[in-house]
């Protein structure tokens, strides 16, 4: 196998042939102040302008040495298209939505021409730009929010979780099913636009909801999504999800992007034969506040455990030092 970023990542997605070293990838944002300065591109323009979006993603590969380029930094692209008022933030603050258009759980109206909405179109254009620039050389990673995360944005997280606690299964399931087509349409469009892989971020976060919530309410929907979206998919779920790995393995995704709280060895043993594992360097204590030696230690642990694609556990803090991101790449360059 030729040792290219693209080959290393795509092979690792399916637990395939290994190269000289494990690939380093980012299903979630690796943008920090240092990367913005080095690329000459900042927030919020990188959320809203396709060229800025693509340039900043490319910087992750050209400046830091990651084997992936991933141009979607916020979690608000779909929310904005569905009626959320989004504050796109600034250099120090990620975007956030200021309202919940369906907090009354009325029927979600998915607009016609959803993919033409500016916040959706910009991602598709950025992916096409990246395809022209690095297609076949570096793995291009798109990102969509799953129906659970979209429900948080539509109804408000606390409100949504309270309805679940109140046993309003019909109400909750209706919203999830009405949002499922958004996830599917955006993922399919991203593959068409040039993505090699799409991350589905769906926040059935460990410690927030239980494994039984995932199994009952979301697993059947994920299975339908993976039935319809044919390209390679990574599932991203935050928190300690050790108790629900088996269900993730049944969802039909090709890989799971995990946080540090999930022990890599245990995860690989439990589900590594069925889904590839991605991650899982700790953000707050190690990447943000730790040393490059701390990073090295965690990367080597993950590699020894059998994690397929190495990277941060989640979107990194904006003040993460560049040297700690470089430390991930350096530690992986030592090989297996």
């Amino acid at each position: 196998m030729k040792t290219s970023s693209y080959n290393l990542v795509m092979s690792a997605m399916f637990n395939g042939r290994k190269g000289e070293r494990p690939p380093v990838g980012n299903p979630t944002s690796i943008v920090c102040h240092g990367l913005m300065d080095a690329a000459g591109v900042s927030f919020p323009e990188a959320h809203l302008d396709a060229n800025a979006m693509a340039d900043l993603a490319l910087a992750g590969h050209e400046i830091l040495g990651f084997d992936t380029v991933m141009p979607e930094y916020s979690v608000q692209q779909e929310g904005a298209a569905l009626g959320c008022v989004v504050d796109w933030g600034n250099r120090d603050r990620m975007p956030d939505n200021k309202n919940f258009p369906y907090e009354d759980f009325s029927d979600v109206v998915v607009p016609d021409h959803l993919l033409e909405k500016p916040s959706m179109k910009v991602v598709l254009e950025a992916l096409s730009i990246l395809r022209r620039q690095v297609g076949g050389k570096v793995a291009i990673v798109g990102k969509v929010m799953g129906p659970w995360t979209l429900s948080y944005h539509m109804a408000g997280t606390q409100n949504f979780l309270l309805q679940i606690g109140m046993g309003e299964t019909e109400k909750v399931t209706k919203m999830l099913r009405q949002l499922m087509p958004v996830t599917i349409a955006f993922a399919q469009a991203q593959f068409q636009a040039g993505a090699d892989i799409v991350v589905m971020a769906d926040h059935v976060t460990g410690n927030l909801v239980g494994p039984y919530h995932y199994k009952e309410l979301l697993l059947p929907i994920h299975q339908q999504i993976t039935e319809q979206v044919k390209g390679p998919l990574i599932l991203h779920v935050c928190g300690d999800c050790s108790d629900r790995l088996e269900y993730f393995a049944q969802s039909g995704v090709d890989a799971y992007h995990m946080e540090w709280q999930v022990d890599a060895k245990m995860a690989v043993e439990k589900i590594g034969q069925r889904v590839s594992l991605v991650g899982n360097v700790n953000n707050p204590q190690v990447l943000y506040q730790g040393t490059s030696e701390d990073v090295h230690q965690q990367v080597r642990y993950a590699i020894a455990a059998g994690v397929n694609i190495i990277g941060p556990e989640c979107a990194i803090p904006l003040a993460t030092p560049m040297e700690n991101l470089r430390a991930i790449v350096e530690a992986a360059s030592e090989g297996y």
Binding site: R93, Q158, L162, G165, N207, G210, P284, Q285, P317
Partner: protein
């Protein structure tokens, strides 16, 4: 009376929010001691809920519906409390720090502390350092709880503690912190008095600080 206390307690634990009001009314009609009703039925229920949450037997949806159920029951009792019974056991100020909009954990802590008979001032989310410290100066709570879910907003917690110190009121309030990116080590580093791993632990910490006063 024990039987109805147990029934109310189980109703809160089970989150049966549609049944609680009738049960509490019944207890009141049967001349239940209101203090006992709060402590032995409502607060006792939330202690069980908090314990189950800490053991990951239940999660935030169940905590929320139990807290809502408890609050519904409490809202019926509160207007009946005599003035001297109304005197709260202590005051707590809670907020999510500047730049951060996450609040579920904080909201759970607020509901449970109110149920425990504490006076809670919830300043909301995205609260500036100056506003927090001004309120601490004005209200003189025993406990200040700071919440953050983003690593970018963690430093605001230290800013609050530093401003409390600059204003000469740091020693007058116990500061507890919580949220996904923080931990006990961070709490020690910034000079906080305690770190709560989850809402249930935060409630225990706040109550222990007030009991020690």
């Amino acid at each position: 009376m024990e039987k109805i206390f147990e029934e109310i307690k189980n109703t809160v634990i089970a989150g049966k929010h549609k049944e609680i009001e009738a049960l509490v009314q019944k207890a009141i009609q049967e001349k239940a001691n209101l203090d006992d009703l709060i402590n032995r039925a409502l607060i006792a229920a939330m202690d069980v809920v908090g314990d189950r949450f800490a053991k990951s037997e239940i999660f935030v949806p169940e905590m929320l519906v139990s807290a809502v159920t408890m609050k519904k029951g409490l809202d019926i009792i509160k207007p009946l409390l005599k003035e001297d019974e109304e005197k709260t056991k202590g005051k707590v100020i809670l907020c999510t720090v500047k730049g951060d909009l996450h609040d579920i954990g904080k909201n759970l802590v607020a509901m449970m502390l109110e149920g425990a008979g504490l006076e809670v001032m919830d300043l909301g989310v995205d609260v500036t350092v100056e506003r927090v410290v001004d309120k601490v100066h004005e209200i003189q709570p025993q406990v200040l709880g700071l919440s953050a879910l983003l690593t970018t907003t963690m430093p605001e917690m230290e800013n609050v503690i530093n401003l409390l110190r600059d204003r000469g009121i740091r020693e007058k309030v116990k500061v507890m912190i919580g949220g996904a990116p923080v931990d006990a080590e961070f709490a020690e580093k910034i000079g906080a008095d305690a770190y709560g791993e989850d809402a249930a632990e935060a409630v225990m910490i706040a109550r222990s600080f007030i009991d020690l006063q």
